[in-house]
Subunit: 655 residues, 2 copies
Amino acid sequence: MIRIGSAWRAPLRAAPLVRARTFSSTSVRASLWKSRWVRYPVYGLGSLAFSATAVLGGLLIYDSMTYHRVLVTDTDTSLERACEWGGPANRPILSRANAPPADGRPPKERLVIVGGGWGAVSLLKSLDPDVYEVTLVSPTNYFLFTPLLPAVAVGTVGVRSVTESLRRLLARTRGQFVQGAAVNVHPHESLDRHTLQAMDGARGLLEVELISPQWDGSADGERKPSDTSVMYVPYDKLVIAVGSVTNNHGATGLEHAFRLKTVRDAQRLRKQLLENFEMASLPTTSDEERKRLLSFVVCGGGPTGVELAAEIHDMIEEDVYKNYPSIVEREAQVHVLQNETHILNTYAEAISKFAEQRFRSEDVDVVTNAQVTQIHPDGVSFEQFNPLTGEKFMRTIPSGCTVWSVGVTMNDFTRRLSTTLPNQGHRHALKVDSQLRVLGTEPGTVYAVGDASTLDSDLKGYIFGHLDRFDKDKDGELTLAEFTQLIKVLRLKFPIANEQLQGIKPLFEKYDFDKNERLCANELAEMIADATKNMTSYPPTAQIASQEGKYLAHKLNRYASLRARDALPRDAEDLDEAIHKPFVFRSLGSIAYLGNAAAFELPIPGPFKTLFGGLIAMYAWRSVYLSEMVSLRTRVLVLGDYIKRSLWGRDVLWL
Amino acid sequence: MIRIGSAWRAPLRAAPLVRARTFSSTSVRASLWKSRWVRYPVYGLGSLAFSATAVLGGLLIYDSMTYHRVLVTDTDTSLERACEWGGPANRPILSRANAPPADGRPPKERLVIVGGGWGAVSLLKSLDPDVYEVTLVSPTNYFLFTPLLPAVAVGTVGVRSVTESLRRLLARTRGQFVQGAAVNVHPHESLDRHTLQAMDGARGLLEVELISPQWDGSADGERKPSDTSVMYVPYDKLVIAVGSVTNNHGATGLEHAFRLKTVRDAQRLRKQLLENFEMASLPTTSDEERKRLLSFVVCGGGPTGVELAAEIHDMIEEDVYKNYPSIVEREAQVHVLQNETHILNTYAEAISKFAEQRFRSEDVDVVTNAQVTQIHPDGVSFEQFNPLTGEKFMRTIPSGCTVWSVGVTMNDFTRRLSTTLPNQGHRHALKVDSQLRVLGTEPGTVYAVGDASTLDSDLKGYIFGHLDRFDKDKDGELTLAEFTQLIKVLRLKFPIANEQLQGIKPLFEKYDFDKNERLCANELAEMIADATKNMTSYPPTAQIASQEGKYLAHKLNRYASLRARDALPRDAEDLDEAIHKPFVFRSLGSIAYLGNAAAFELPIPGPFKTLFGGLIAMYAWRSVYLSEMVSLRTRVLVLGDYIKRSLWGRDVLWL
């Protein structure tokens, strides 16, 4: 029974002179209690009090049991054990973590995954836990939920809320962790006999530069070689998932710009943003300098650039404004420079327009058709193209903080591979076939996923390299039957060209210009040229890296299970193709944050292909990201950060 | 009325064939419902569900109203306004934020507070909001809850949970904020006529070095002068609350040690701790190097050192162990080096003993009587004294991470003041009188609180400087009446000597060696020497800084209110003494964290003077700190961090 009113009663009892009123007030209380307007709120408050007590009490009891050594360990990822030395530089070669099985079965294959981003983690999560000896090599010991990096850069969410321990993610597969950056790959045929013995039958060695305490965590080239040491990790299967670095796109002076690829980038950027306001508010700062300090230039009108511009604008309006209303009002300005005609140009036109209109109404300056040529310490120069007059002219805008968010390219490791391997030559990524095998490597050993890879689209090279095989009658031309066979193989080898290779008969008739019922080399070349022109390679997004990782996990699972049952097809021309279908990307749509608004592009035709709106869309956008996170921990922490922002705003401290 | 069971009922209704059973299962449900074992848990879960919905729904609605510019600003602390230039270096002199009152009343006095720690914040919180024009000068724009810094260093709580915006704390008094480090004080008599005009009647100028974006946040001397610029802040009243820096106590090689005074220190230390485990786990690391990497040496057995050692030990046992069980088991070792006979030697003996016994059982190595002489990059050398044999011998222990936590001393600013002002000369702090006025400055203008200050204990200097005043009959000796007068004044001027100056008559008789009923100079000198010997100066703690700040706020409030009513005593010999009693420290006790245990020393005699114990004491320790925090925000965030640790452990990421 719930008892209320005792607090009311106490003073009445203490004052006998008013006892006469007690009775009536008791009956008033009784009748009050009958009213739902009294009873339900009391029930509600009682529920809240009970729940708070129950939850906090439960947590306290649980908490009191957590202060001791945890004996069930996640995973002993220590690599401290005896190693043979060898390899080109005579350095330690990581030995197997476990002794081979006693029953004479072949030991598990060694799967080495390089990188700790979307591709690697999605692969890890879908991999059968017991079929490989897994080693993960990553320069950071955490996975970063990159889509929220713009939010981290302004303090909407905390950096520890969007990172998850790679060791924890690795625990399921009882894998080992090497904190280091991959430098090179040495296939077994290039190694001397001693090394081959030491690596115990592996298909090659991955050369790893161990990360030193002095390393500052940036992705590209700020490591000091003298502080690092080298180690070799033997692999039977190697998965390259190292991601990408920022591309300079022909601009100079990038050392004066911030990037937004790593945690460190976000931390540095946040500090600079806050410092600029502090500096601008000083009486020693000139008006011109103040204008410069409060001009924030984002180069790049893609999703990251747009989201960052939106987040910076949010931070200024919702938090910074409180401390410096006058200077924010007068001077603060966010600029977005985009080299295309619209921002978010990879999205549907309706979304681009919505974003531009939204930015206009929020007073974010969007400059389109602007090709950045140089970044100065105090400004950005760009060539602007006027689409009406066709004129080009140079402009320079002052900038207190420039962020470069334009495209991606290979890091040192993948660039080294790309130049040494045959059949490569893409400018920004490693070319892989439709089975995600890196071109030019021994089939079934080296795979690449995510930003580090791009699906090979060289139809021409393939067709003319294999024309003999399809031209059964050796007349130098293809009949419809021969052409049908060719297209079927092409669809398997180049799933990205599927759309262009629909309708075999119409295609054959379209390009059979002389109507001789055969396609000669010229006619074939014409067809290939047209198909290639309309093909678009997959964008470097978390979504595709995730799908590639998952695809590869399934294939590797299947391979290992067939191998364990000794059921691998023996005479297959192409083992990968024989056991698994090629990779095809299925878009789940795109989303973009636009400053207390959001836009969604769904992979469906019709009126609901694009959706956008204000706060409700923003909440939907947050829900999508919360559901995409890799662990419950990060979900709870990010939700907590949203609540924190709501109650106390973003903190604007120099930490 | 609560309705349950409708979900069960629905499928039954949809299936008429089993209607016959409906009755009996309804009655089973009804009788189940009568059982309290069913009803109460359902009520409980219902309450939880209702509460969760209500709280989250409420938050969501509130949240949706926070996405806009906040028009009621905390405080416009921007300093951007026209300033005269002047002063010794001809730099801007900050002008008044507000125009003088139109009704001809004198404008408010300008109160300048230097520093953003315990003393400054406690002063700010107790200051009447409308009586001064407040300017806060601090190199960081946040207040740091220093007692939890050891916990921050290992990730038990987050750094943003123990910091609070100084601007937010300043908002109540509508003060201004200058982000900079104080360099010097120029009293008005040293300044030229032009400057005096520009500073509008102020008592002096505070020279401030504005903090540049390049500054790394450390407390001592890593600023680059070329990146800074200088400004003058005029004051009518100046409060120095700049705290202290670490003291080297005669050891060399301190550049190889971490400290634990600032946020940056804690962040660096955390990174180093985690990196050492990572390095130690590599196969390229030799056994000797591994031993070194996992040896953590804390120099200093005071509260900070002990708490840090305990926290490091907690982190290793509860979190790091999971990832590296074998090397932690075999090699990890925390050492505490203490130059006294016991750790926590300022606490009661029972607490020291409990702490030592606790550390012994937890396998933390406590080395007492160890005077550190040199810190090497890879170890610590110290001279150990054996109290049994009286021998001294040198030892060196390898160290992968050395933390220096031994005493405090003046920073550059206070040292500069200390050397230029008369009557100073303390080695580690500015001497202040019992009204907290800095000795050697114009009375009523410059005050100091917290670690930066120490109460003057020079009884001898005072007595022999003022003997004439007390020796009314000018015979060179003091009668009992004269002596009584002297002691009364001494108690007022030197409250720290109160204990030693109890019982005037017995004191007089004790030192009247020749029993001539008069104290001659020698007898007086003897008395002073004895009293001074037993006096202990207040320790540099948050508690005393807080009390000093509050005391000063009350005095400044009283001064301003008297001044506003034009009621200041006109002919007072000493205005401060005339309007307010001297500062006396009242200890509230001490607490110390000892690794999932805690000890309390209460300011009461008897058996409850010392309390210590395990987890329950730890929860009490946490409660004390939660209640001592400066804002609800930090309380909630720290509580959240404790829950986070409980659920997912400390994160061991290199962030």
